[in-house]
């Protein structure tokens, strides 16, 4: 075992998470006070301002470049990948907070924001974890608040059902994953990624066991990223959860799952590329087809986006399956673009739903007449989801397809292309509804915080779609960290 000693750097490394924790404390205190002073949305603004300060601090002070550092006795790793995605999760939580305001049922509840922040802490540790125990703790720290958030509207049966469903699926899959971890520990006697990779190299694991463990662990990660065959929860949970939370689950939570998956495969399984490449490629294929085909028949937009999010997990997995640096970079870029895109889409649904009381496709008919700006934002996000320039989705798709081409997975590219066409079809159907003529003049109320959030999302989508170099530059370092984790 390693000698555990703490250095000042150890504390410095978890400063952002500590700050988040302090913010949680502040929220809970303000929550107690707010009942007396009655300022609308005080909690939401406190959370978002606090997050903004932490994001700003991280952007300014922590840029590790291409350096990596192990902290807390090898539990966590501070590198470009972890810091980039910690910032991205916080941006996701920031936008989600803005969308959560002005909702009667959860927008003025302290525990709602506290839970949200706790899940961000969990995700931040998830992407940095390089030890099985730490990883498991982080996964659970992320998941438990999300179970609560999904079922937060206790007066709504659908929300409660979705929370329960999410909990059951999450608990089972994480138990299976834990079994995989135990096998890893049993055969090697270590929980650290760095030691595990040596154990793999030394042939401590029989080939069959390696594959078994891979399947067990993919169960846990597959749940997080909602890929087939662990996707069953997604449609019901997305539909039942409070809409800002659906968006958060589909973006930040999914991204965290992907980063862990990439880190795990890229380190522990880095020498068995050919084994997992084909497995991931198969999962990607089925996810894309299933997600897109089922999305074709959906009448509820939250459900439709849930299936589309399963399909998008498939596209991102194309990048992962390629296993080359372009693929990892593409997958990360995809996650970033997808974060803004999907948050915008769920954001628009959030606005329409809060005015009309439903997220059915019919409610969006003629949105261009009722709220032109909102309809145009919806158009941008749907086009980006469909992979149309000049939006972020286009370059993301090109990147993952290129990576698969480079890895000689031509068939996978063809599958991706067929699915892009399927996808375009149902996005166009939604766009048609949104832009249809209508006599109806029901008012759509858009609050200030929602406008800010939608503005950030659209800016993100367009910037990611037109300017590539700076963002891909970040991803470059992050990719190096992922692929060369143990080759220094």
């Amino acid at each position: 075992m390693n000698q555990i000693s703490f250095s000042s750097y150890d504390f410095q490394a978890i400063l952002p998470q500590a700050a988040l924790l302090i913010l949680v404390g502040i929220i809970l205190v303000v929550d107690l006070l707010v009942k007396k002073i009655k300022i609308k949305n005080l909690l939401g603004w406190t959370t978002s301002v606090g997050l903004a300060i932490i994001i700003f601090g991280m952007v300014v002070f922590s840029s590790p470049g291409n350096q990596t550092r192990s902290v807390w006795g090898g539990m966590l790793r501070v590198d470009s990948a972890s810091i980039t995605f910690q910032i991205i999760f916080m941006i996701g939580a920031f936008i989600t907070t803005l969308f959560s305001m002005n909702h009667d049922k959860f927008g003025d509840r302290g525990e709602y924001y506290a839970m949200l922040l706790c899940s961000v802490i969990g995700m931040s540790f998830m992407v940095a974890a390089t030890d099985l125990i730490m990883l498991y703790l982080a996964v659970e720290t992320t998941a438990i608040p999300l179970y609560v958030l999904a079922g937060f509207i206790t007066t709504d049966n659908k929300s409660v059902e979705s929370g329960l469903k999410y909990l059951l699926f999450g608990a089972v899959t994480s138990a299976v994953m834990l079994y995989g971890f135990s096998l890893l520990y049993g055969f090697s006697g270590t929980t650290q990624f760095g030691q595990l990779i040596i154990a793999f190299e030394n042939g401590l694991f029989p080939q069959g066991i390696k594959i078994l463990i891979l399947f067990l662990i993919l169960t846990g990660f597959g749940f997080k990223i909602s890929s087939v065959p662990f996707h069953f929860w997604a449609p019901d949970v997305y539909q039942g959860s409070p809409t800002p939370i659906s968006g958060y689950l589909a973006t930040a939570s999914k991204a965290a799952g992907f980063i862990v998956l990439i880190r795990f495969l890229g380190s522990v399984y880095s020498f068995d590329h050919q084994i997992w490449m084909i497995i991931i490629a198969m999962i990607a294929t089925i996810s894309m087809f299933l997600g897109n085909l089922l999305a074709l028949v959906q009448k509820n937009l939250k459900r439709l986006l849930a299936f589309s999010s399963i399909a998008h997990a498939g596209y991102i997995l194309i990048g992962v399956a390629s296993g080359n640096s372009l693929g990892i970079k593409g997958a990360m870029y995809y996650l970033l673009a997808y974060l803004f895109t999907n948050l915008a889409a769920f954001g628009v649904i959030n606005v329409v739903e809060s005015s009309t009381g439903s997220s059915d496709l019919d409610q969006f008919r003629g949105l261009i007449k009722r709220a032109p700006g909102l309809a145009l934002i919806f158009l941008v996000s749907l086009l980006s989801l469909a992979g149309i320039p000049p939006f972020g989705g286009f370059i993301s798709k090109i990147l993952v397809f290129s990576a698969a081409m480079e890895a000689n997975l031509v068939w996978l590219v063809l599958v991706g292309i067929i699915n892009s066409i399927l996808g375009l079809f149902y996005y166009l159907v939604v766009i048609k509804q949104t832009f249809a003529d209508t006599e109806e003049k029901s008012l759509i109320k858009v609050h200030k915080s929602w406008i800010i959030a939608l503005g950030i999302c659209v800016t993100g989508i367009v910037l990611l779609g037109v300017i590539y170099r700076p963002w891909l530059g970040w991803m470059d370092n992050a990719t190096m960290n992922m692929l060369l984790l143990y080759f220094y």
């Binding site: 149309i388 000049p390 031509v410 375009l424 170099r469 891909l472």
Partner: protein, 490 residues
């Protein structure tokens, strides 16, 4: 790098579109003037590009090259050769006349003109791209404006079906081409999307033969190649007039232009290998399209299928792979673009006044709208390849070119002239001559000045080039000679 005239040409409609989209609701009176000014500027700047292109130095001119994503060999690389310039001028003309003929669009006018402008940006961008990535970037921007314009302003009976069909077909085509494009990107020694670098890449025979069909067929779907042509008549008929003009007149050229630029120019050996197959499909296009056009009862479908037939001639010109054939193809791209835009414009004018496209219930309209009838006759003569019109300058070289390769195909294709003459004259007689139905005696009025300007401008170019082929032939020839160098080399 001099004055970035290409970028400016591309940006004018984009900016106009954004301005209209964001301010049009509050200032509805400004929408049409902005659109007209923007389209005039586009036309003007394409004409300036035409006039200032130096035939002596030939090659790609007005080049702009800015690094975009150098790690992947993507750059913002613009430049045009002779064929590209012809296409830019075509776009300028069609956009300009498109704005004029849709002057009376009342429904959601701000959105209409802004999407129209976005569509113009997309096409202008494709014709100026010297980077494969950039080409796809511009190409796919067109997806949403064309879809929305068809489903919102199209003809109520078929717009949803036609719009979806057209958009999906075009997206499928571009996606198939994308696979091929990525494949040759990774096969190139210096990984780059730059077309000029890829031209010199010297792909192996296997790569060329394998990926040529992907790229060529993918883009040719956009040009309406048989058996993937059915989107064209359905989509064009469903679309509102200005969009039919732009889609049939220019978007179809985007397809064949990209097929030429990417497939034939980058993979010349592949082109030689697959040319007989292209020839077979294209000949079916020409003859089948003409026959189907003849039996149509709907005025607009006649024109829709005539496009299919004429685009087949362009592809035959490509497949000949010799100087005459390619020259004819280039001329035909320009000539057909203007001709079909004029046809669709006149169909739209007739429909706006009679509210029907059923040929049987029309007749004698020459008394009411003589100028439109003259326009239709001119377009018809171009379509038949009459000497003195641009169609002659385009079609004769195509037939001559293909004669050198396969006289049989030439004979079959030449037959189409007869069929074309038949359906054009039949349609002309039924719609414009004969007895004017009494219902239209009082209700139908002559077309207005703006429509006349649109018809006049388009006709002027068709007659001008027919009488003075020297205006455009050397321009196309300079582009063709570069293609021949690529075909002969390697």
């Amino acid at each position: 790098m001099g004055f970035p005239i290409l970028s400016i040409t591309i940006l004018i409609p984009l900016i106009a579109g954004l301005v209209i989209l964001f301010t049009g609701r509050k200032n509805p009176n400004w929408i049409r003037p902005i659109a007209l000014v923007a389209s005039s500027l586009v036309l003007l700047s394409t004409l300036i590009i035409w006039a200032s292109y130096s035939l002596e130095s030939a090659g790609y001119q007005f080049v702009e090259n800015i690094e975009w994503l150098p790690e992947l060999g993507i750059s913002y690389h613009l430049g045009v050769d002779g064929i590209g310039i012809a296409m830019l001028v075509l776009t300028g003309l069609v956009v300009f006349s498109g704005v004029l003929v849709s002057w009376n669009v009342d429904k959601r006018r701000d959105e209409f003109f802004s999407y129209f402008m976005f569509l113009a940006t997309s096409v202008l961008g494709v014709f100026s791209s010297l980077d494969l990535f950039l080409l796809f970037f511009f190409l796919e921007i067109a997806v949403f404006p064309k879809y929305l314009m068809i489903v919102i302003w199209g003809s109520p009976q078929t717009r949803e079906y036609g719009g979806m069909k057209l958009t999906l077909y075009l997206f499928i085509g571009s996606m198939i081409a994308l696979v091929g494009a990525l494949a040759i990107y990774f096969a190139s020694p210096e990984r780059s999307f730059d077309l000029l670098i890829l031209e010199k890449a010297g792909f192996s025979l296997g790569v060329q033969k394998l990926w040529f069909p992907f790229i060529f067929l993918g883009f040719a779907i956009l040009g309406g190649i048989f058996p993937f042509h059915s989107w064209a008549p359905d989509g064009h008929v469903a679309a509102p007039t200005a969009i039919s003009m732009l889609l049939a007149g220019v978007e179809m050229k985007v397809g064949v232009f990209a097929a030429l630029r990417v497939a034939i120019m980058l993979l010349p050996e592949g082109a030689k290998f697959w040319a007989p197959w292209i020839l077979v499909l294209a000949t079916i296009n020409v003859v089948y399209g003409a026959f189907i056009a003849m039996i149509q009862k709907d005025f607009k479908y006649v024109i829709g299928f005539s496009s299919v037939s004429h685009m087949g001639l362009v592809l035959i010109g490509f497949a000949s792979l010799n100087a005459t054939g390619l020259l004819g193809a280039g001329m035909q791209m320009f000539s057909h673009g203007i001709m079909t835009a004029l046809f669709f414009a006149i169909v739209g004018m007739v429909y706006d006044r009679t509210h029907t496209r059923d040929i049987a219930s029309l007749g004698g309209l020459v008394k009411k709208m003589p100028f439109a009838a003259i326009g239709f006759i001119i377009a018809g003569l171009v379509s038949m390849g009459m000497p003195g019109f641009s169609g002659f300058v385009a079609e004769i070289p195509i037939y001559m070119g293909i004669w050198q390769v396969s006289p049989v195909v030439a004979v079959i294709a030449i037959l189409s002239i007869v069929i074309t003459a038949a359906y054009i004259l039949l349609t002309l007689r039924r719609v414009f001559f004969g007895e004017l139905p009494p219902a239209y005696e009082n209700s139908v009025r002559d077309i207005n000045v703006r429509d006349k300007i649109a018809i006049g401008v388009l006709s002027l170019f068709m007659i001008g080039i027919g009488i003075l082929p020297g205006l455009m032939v050397p321009l196309i020839e300079s582009g063709v000679s570069h293609i021949l160098a690529l075909l002969g080399g390697v």
